[in-house]
Amino acid sequence: MVRPSSGKATLLRLGFVDPESAQASLTRLGPAAEPILAMLGLVADPDLALTGLVRLVGSAGEAEAGELLDALVDDEGSAMRLLGVLGASEALGHHLARHPEHWRELTDPTLGSSRPAAYAMRESLLRAVGADPADEVAVATLARPEALDALRVEYRRILLRLAARDIAHDLPVTDVAAELSDLAVGTLDAALAVARSVVPNASAVRLAVLAMGKTGGHELNYVSDVDVIFVHEPADRPDDPVDDQTALRAATQLAGQLIAVCGDLTAEGRIWAVDANLRPEGKAGPLSRTLAAMGGYYERWASTWEFQALLKARPAAGDLSLGSAFVELVQPYIWHAAEREGFVEDTQAMRRRVVAHIPAKDADRELKLGEGGLRDVEFAVQLLQLVHGRADDRLRSPATLPALRALTEGGYVGREDGETLHAAYSFLRTLEHRIQLQRLQRTHVVPDDEASLRRLGRGMGFLKEPVPALLAEWQRQRREVRRLHEKLFYRPLLSAVARIPGEVARLSPEAAQRRLAALGYEDPAAALRHLEALTQGVRRAADIQRALLPAMLQWFAEGPDPDAGLFGFRRISEALGTTHWYLRTLRDEGMVAERLARLLSTSRYATALLEREPEGVRILGGDLQPRATEPVVEEMLSTGRRRDDAEPGVRAIRAVRRRELLRIAAGDVLGLTDVRAVSEGLSRLTDATLEATLQVVGEAVRTERDLTEAPTALAIVAMGRYGGFELSYASDADVLFVHRPVEGADQQVAASYALAVATELRRLLGLAGPDPALEVDADLRPEGRSGPLVRTLDAYAAYYGKWHSVWEKQALLRADAVVGDPDLRAAFTALIDPVRYPAGGVGDDEVHEIRRIKGRVDAERLPRGADPATHLKLGRGGLADIEWTVQLLQLRHAHEVEGLRTTSTLDALAAARSAGLVGQRDGALLDEAWRIVSRIRNAVTLVRGRASDQLPQAARERRAVASILGYPPGSSDELVNDYLRATRLAHGVVDTVFWQ
């Protein structure tokens, strides 16, 4: 036999960190050292185990130490248990040093195979304090201080046996937790016996202790507060009746004593804190109540979380029949709780708050709270229990894992999900146990120092590279929990409508509808039909849908209109069902699916665009910022020119426009694009559309007329909101057409050509078709509708030289020659600049005239019956108010303030602010109002699918608009209030700046 070497290298290989001290310790153990060395290499922390052993040997008497070492050498089982405990728990090491005789507990060969009975633990704990376990109302006979110490020692003795079973015999985590709960319950009984011995009138009352929380659920940790509720009734003594007050006093004293007996710090430490705060009214309520008082409270006052807590109540100590009566009393309340309005939201909101409140420092290392923590699993399981437990009493288990199993077996949770979650929860709980065992401290934070992590890793069985292996596994399990938590509610819904391979149990349609309704679907029956349609058909497609839908259902549920989202998804899926890339894209690119879900459940405008061209789904994976003009023009031209005729050519251009509209709308709904970028994007897109159409139509007209060259240069001048780079989704494009015949061209031919092109352009863009039409409106031209559609540059010059009125100057402020022949555009701009920015500013007469027109517009243009306070365009402080104000400043001061020579309202406003023409605060108010009104106007179109200048009145539309603007659910009237405030303040500014 090769003698194991205790050289440094060997010690390091075995896992010792400090070989020098280890060698010294081993020397002190003498001949016993060699045989146990290999065993030390298997424990969580060999250094700690060895130190603990040396200390134990040192504190035991000489004879006892000899016996101990002999036992270790002779019996591998004893050695494994003792060294395992010493290597995993510093605290139990200290206990052994103080009570060396307890090492013998670990030589018990039955430890590995038999679970101690709960009644046996209770009896030995009662005996420890000198009470008779056979007595129904056991009373301690030891004096209080001795009883407290004795109880602590006995508690630790049993705990030591349990820890040894856990560490050396791989007890499943559920068993450990259940035994810890039994131990806690026995301890409560013994503590009550001590309390009875000191409370003078203890016999006046029957007191029951209900275990709550983890103790109640049979899933306690090594160290945790033990949650309880006390119930009492006056003792039944016909000869010496007890009044309520006396009973209450006695019960309160007993309860207080019980808490102290467990929680007081003595020479033997403390056991754990008893927490009675789950009782009615929490800290403010009396420690104990009678059954009738309890009933009265739960009937009237309790809130949602209290019912969740009651799920785990069970009689633990004291008068068990009274405890059972309490549990029976609260059962009906628990199973009605889920029907309370907003129950699911309440509970989920509660969890989100818990996650949000963890101090950031520890959030990453939290086992219990935080995303993917233990609490995630417990919450999800309890929630599902409450939702379905009323109809199905198989689900009413107080412990998390058995409840999860019942939910899985009943089909409420998918089989695979259930199993994975089970494994993840077990892992996390085991890790928690190991962390707590170390110092017997109540903590849920994974330590971050190397030594503790190493010990934990080894203790969890990762003997090679313990730290990285442990951390990787922990992260993996946490991810699993987080991933499953999201799907847990949604996936089983599919089993109600589709046969899913491998699932034995199915959710009944009734249960599925109940859950859909709880998740916010207003028409659960229809939703179920959509689900059914989506999961049938081609097998491969149905498979992918089943994988996709749980997540999609959740995203729909988070949107303002879940039903519309699901319905839209069904229609798009039916249109694209067999397209090879569609489902694959959704499955493989999570972002596309999430964006699609958000769009469908929020915006009819985007849904309509998508329905007309489902291919648009593809762009959701890409950049949703509006594109620049040139590449879009190029794309439009290359696709438009490929057609033989102008009509199909323009149709192709419009298809590109539709796709770009979807890009802008999607970016807007998803909050990626701000209001100015949206307006600018829409304006640029209109530029591109007009530019490409102008070219395609020009070519067609030339071909038709057998012209090789255009007889005249054409340009389009953007006017109004379009000119201001402020288009909204539904605005018409206001324009002027201008042309300049080329040298030597026939004026008549040129004019007729220009008119033909302009007319055809308007016709083809406005044609009804599958794409949204672009209305090109030229009504702002000189002489309005009665003037010619197209004029030459010279004609414009002549007109503006002679006739211009002040409103035309005002209109020209927004003129931006953007499309067509570049030279002509420059010439037009040069022509109108002196008109719109007159030297010296407009005169007083003209200012009066503008005010007069504005006054008339205010009075007349508002549609009959419209509410001026909520009309976005013409209302109080609406767009017209702000824009007219800015334009008046431009007319008066643009000749001297360079920055005012812009078509953009916000740029002109900024220039006016820096030039001191409006105050800083006033300018900011106008800017803010313009933005909020424009945002709402865009959002209204996105939500309704068509334009409106009125703040929506329908509740659902209002909710959706609020959601696009980023308001949390349930605050749509807040949006209205903010709108009214911004416009009222803007109106105040308009009053002084425009009218005075």
Binding site: A302, A337, D867, G970, N977, L980, R981
Partner: protein, 447 residues
């Protein structure tokens, strides 16, 4: 359906309730009531009772009149004056007003106060109030053009009337306590037939609910005894008006935030800043604390009512009074706001006072000098020298101050702010056009 709802439904059965009155308050502070049969109540809990908001003063904007009243089951009470010995009973519940999508309505005065309270709560404060409500008892139902007779007249030994007053007090107290409102009653010396009742200290929302209940109970009890109770701010030219002096304080958790041991009058910095805020903004919130044309007839020199923006320690002419500080009673440190009158909308008035005080705290206002003299006895010039601004002397003045108040707009919310001022302007216009007996008596003989 929760257990509180279940409890209500069961109570309806057990108490043989035939009608349930759903209570809410309109913008001007009038109690509104919709009666529903018990059978409809289940639906009311789930979805609320739909009603046409445009029919309620100040509730609906044009075209969006669909609103829901959602009963709050924790406010369920049997109405004692409707209860007969064995016959059927009537009950009431307060309601929150919500929009059809479930979002709370900005037109609901209760929500105005709730919003203001939760803003204070974000800063860690809860707001407590304790109002002393004054009112008159008259012999008869008011009749147009007739001067009302008080139930008791000092110097006039009317035995029946005296006992009427004491019967009234006994019955009112009994009923208020049946409704869960505990009170202290005192017979007011000020005017004939005038009474004062103090409600127990409570959080502002409960107090406001209690004031609404209280006014109803007082009127009902009076009616049952054939007399008339009125909270009109100033029913007689020659007798004092009916105010609602309100003691207010802020708590941070369990601690009174107004208290600082050793400081002057035990007032903490928070308290001083709060008072400064209430003082500075008093003129602009006056339209809410004193909302009627008649309110401004109470705010005149010599009555118990303040006329100028001032504070003092046990100075009855001051607008804000700091009561005597009792050693060892730091928790009860509070200040008394003396402008508010008994005919205000308590939700709005409490919200406005709290907002003004919070503004003082947020912006760290400095408390002006204490007014040690009797403000009424000073000359105008002396007041100016002491920096004492006048409170508005008429509703018109109050309106124009309010119109430019961002604090008030922010507190009330756009909808209530807009409606309230429009309504008050209309009230002033109407009042301005009426020729009063004063003018006739004075001018007919000589002009």
């Amino acid at each position: 359906m929760g257990k509180q709802e279940d409890f209500v439904l069961r109570a309806l059965e057990e108490r043989d309730v035939r009608f349930v009155r759903l209570w809410f308050t309109d913008v001007l502070g009038f109690l509104k009531s919709v009666a529903v049969a018990p059978a409809e109540l289940e639906a009311a809990f789930a979805e609320g009772i739909g009603f046409d908001g445009s029919a309620i003063e100040g509730f609906a904007r044009v075209y969006e009149s669909d609103m829901l009243a959602k009963p709050d089951p924790s406010t369920f009470q049997i109405l004692p004056w409707r209860e007969t010995v064995s016959g059927p009973a009537t009950a009431r519940m307060f309601c929150d007003i919500v929009m059809p999508d479930g979002s709370p309505s900005y037109a609901d005065p209760r929500f105005v106060l709730k919003r203001t309270l939760s803003k204070a709560a974000e800063k860690g404060f809860t707001f407590y109030t304790h109002p002393e409500i004054e009112f008159y008892l008259f012999k008869d139902v008011p009749q147009k053009g007739k001067s009302p007779l008080p139930v008791d007249r000092s110097g006039y030994f009317d035995h029946t009337a005296q006992s009427m007053g004491s019967d009234f007090r006994r019955e009112a107290i009994t009923m208020l306590e049946q409704m869960g409102i505990s009170v202290e009653f005192s017979h007011h010396e000020g005017g004939p037939g005038q009474q004062e009742i103090d409600l127990r200290y409570a959080d502002a929302l409960s107090t406001a609910d209690n004031i609404m209940t209280f006014r109803t109970v007082i009127r009902e009890v009076a009616l049952s005894q054939g007399i008339w109770a009125s909270f009109m701010p100033k029913p007689y030219t020659e007798h004092p008006g009916s105010g609602m002096h309100t003691h207010v304080s802020l708590f941070e958790g369990d601690a009174n935030a107004f208290y600082e041991p050793g400081a002057e009058y035990g007032l903490s910095k928070t308290a001083r800043q709060f008072i400064a805020g209430v003082l500075l903004h008093a003129p602009e919130i006056s339209v809410v604390t004193n909302q009627w044309v008649n309110s401004y007839k109470r705010l005149i020199t010599g009555s118990e009512a303040p006329t100028h923006v001032s504070w003092g320690h046990n100075n009855r002419s001051a607008m804000v009074r700091v009561p005597m500080y009792k050693p060892l009673k730091g928790q009860s440190t509070r200040v008394e706001v003396r402008t508010i009158d008994a005919a205000c909308n308590p939700y709005l008035a409490f919200a406005a006072v709290l907002a003004a005080g919070m503004k003082g705290i947020e912006d760290g206002y400095d408390l002006p000098r204490e007014a040690e003299d009797d403000v009424w006895s000073l000359t105008d010039r002396e007041r100016r020298a002491l920096g004492l601004d006048a409170l508005p002397t008429s509703l018109a003045e109050a309106i124009s101050l309010a119109e430019s108040s961002e604090l008030l707009a922010d507190t009330l919310g756009e909808h209530v702010f807009d409606f309230f001022l429009r309504n008050k302007r209309a009230e002033w216009q109407e009042y301005r056009g009426v020729v009063s007996p004063f003018e006739r008596d004075r001018m007919l003989p000589i002009l």
